[in-house]
Amino acid sequence: MHKINSRRDVLKLAGAATLAGMLPSGKAFAQAAGNVVVIGGGFGGASAARYLKRMGVNVTLIEANATFSTCPFSNTVLGGFGKMADITHNYDGLKRAGINVITGTVTGIDVAQKRVTVQGNTTPIPYDRMVVSSGIDFKFTGAGALAGYDEAATEKMPHAWKAGPQTELLARQLTAMPDGGTFIMTIPNNPYRCPPGPYERASLVAHYLKTNKPRSKILLLDGKETFSKQALFQGAWRELYGNMIEWVAFGQGGNVSRVDPNTMTAFTDFGQHKGDVVNVIPPQRSGRVVDLAGLATGDWCNVNQATFESRTVPGVHVIGDACVAGAMPKSGFSANNQAKVAAAAIVASLRNQPAPSPSLINVCYSLVNPDYGISVASVHRVGEDGTIISVPNSGGTSAANASADVRKLEAEYARGWYKSIMQEMFG
């Protein structure tokens, strides 16, 4: 018989046994005993539930809302060419796949008893392992909050950083804005959900204004000195929108220290700016439900980056925006890929087998107009120190000098990505 002479060999064999069960063809796998509860039916949670189910696990998904509106492509609604219906999805596909979907808000997590309480349900739901993909919440009070910006202020100065009614409110405000008006966006320092998101939004708002209100201005007040895909965005802005978009870096007066929703004013270190529409992207933290289980250290949740198991609560995996994932940005794409890694690790643990070694990708597409797409890509592994790294000499942004045809192709592929990932998540 083959002689086992290294740790590597043992693991190879054990790994092979594990993976026989996770071939994604969905055929001939051993059932993995155990109940997994997934909190959150967004990019991470819906993906995790679907992959766990495929691998034979009993899954209960708990999501606060009956439908999910995606942030990806929500900027097309502001651009005037997308509809809320295009970005809103229900959980019927997950139910059809045999996932127990509970619509309700998690109000209690008992990590000792391994049970979750849902608002309005008297019987707690037991779990063997849990996945938490609760996304972000905003810092409305306390350290790191933006002065003047609380829950009530969001009705006057929408964030639209969770898609849904806030997206519609911001779109209505844009529609009502006079030609020649000023659209202000305040952008927080890192880390926040979707690093290129503010700049895609600025682009598509510019597209809307150029088409409908060409004398208007866009002012971006940024809490950073540089931003994602900066050269590509700024090049495209000049090419497509002339001087419509003004970007102010942190040190140049971009740092917003306070807002006043009554006068629609943003105050910076250097002065004050009054807008007709003010879109405040507030400072962020992990979705608050993590506090019920003590999962966060500071704003975010530390995990074993190879399995996404919490560093503070064993048996609970935190994925998506809520976790710290090394070199991976907070994106829907990342959350989806992390869900697959966590699902494989959970199935392995339910079978008392070692977790497979992870491999992850992130690609963030941005539209600068409906026919102009750019992207940033990265391939990830877990490095020697246990954190997620980018594979050297891979990834990067779209070419600086690409032709209009290539930009158009990338816009098409962005729509293709959306179709694929929505099918993966929602069936």
């Binding site: 083959h2 693991l11 071939l23 697959k340 008392n352 592929y413 293709g416 099918q423």
Partner: protein, 99 residues
């Protein structure tokens, strides 16, 4: 080695800390990362090409062409550089076996 030895090795390793790790990335793990664009099991519902119905040779020729910038691409040239030639072969075999 017997299954029992394997199991006890595995358990011993797992006892070292949380879930143990295998140190080679399996083809299924490499491949599921691609589904976000190419569709679940490589069947794309949209504008990105499907990865099913390709021979192993066609698949690895495409990936290696992307990796060396011999085949023009919008994004695959950047992604393919993240994989070793051995991983590309493993991916090619994996996808060729998908229905």
């Amino acid at each position: 080695m017997s299954l029992r030895t394997l199991a006890s090795c595995t358990l011993a390793l797992m006892a070292l800390g949380g879930i143990a790790q295998a140190d080679e990335t399996a083809p299924a793990v490499l491949a599921t990362a691609c589904f976000a664009c190419h569709g679940m099991d490589g069947k794309s519902p949209g504008q990105i090409p499907s990865l099913t119905g390709k021979t192993k040779e066609a698949f690895s020729t495409a990936m290696k062409g992307f990796k060396t910038d011999q085949i023009p691409a919008t994004v695959m040239n950047r992604l393919a550089k993240g994989y070793t030639d051995a991983e590309i072969e493993a991916l090619a075999t994996f996808y060729a076996n998908l229905k």
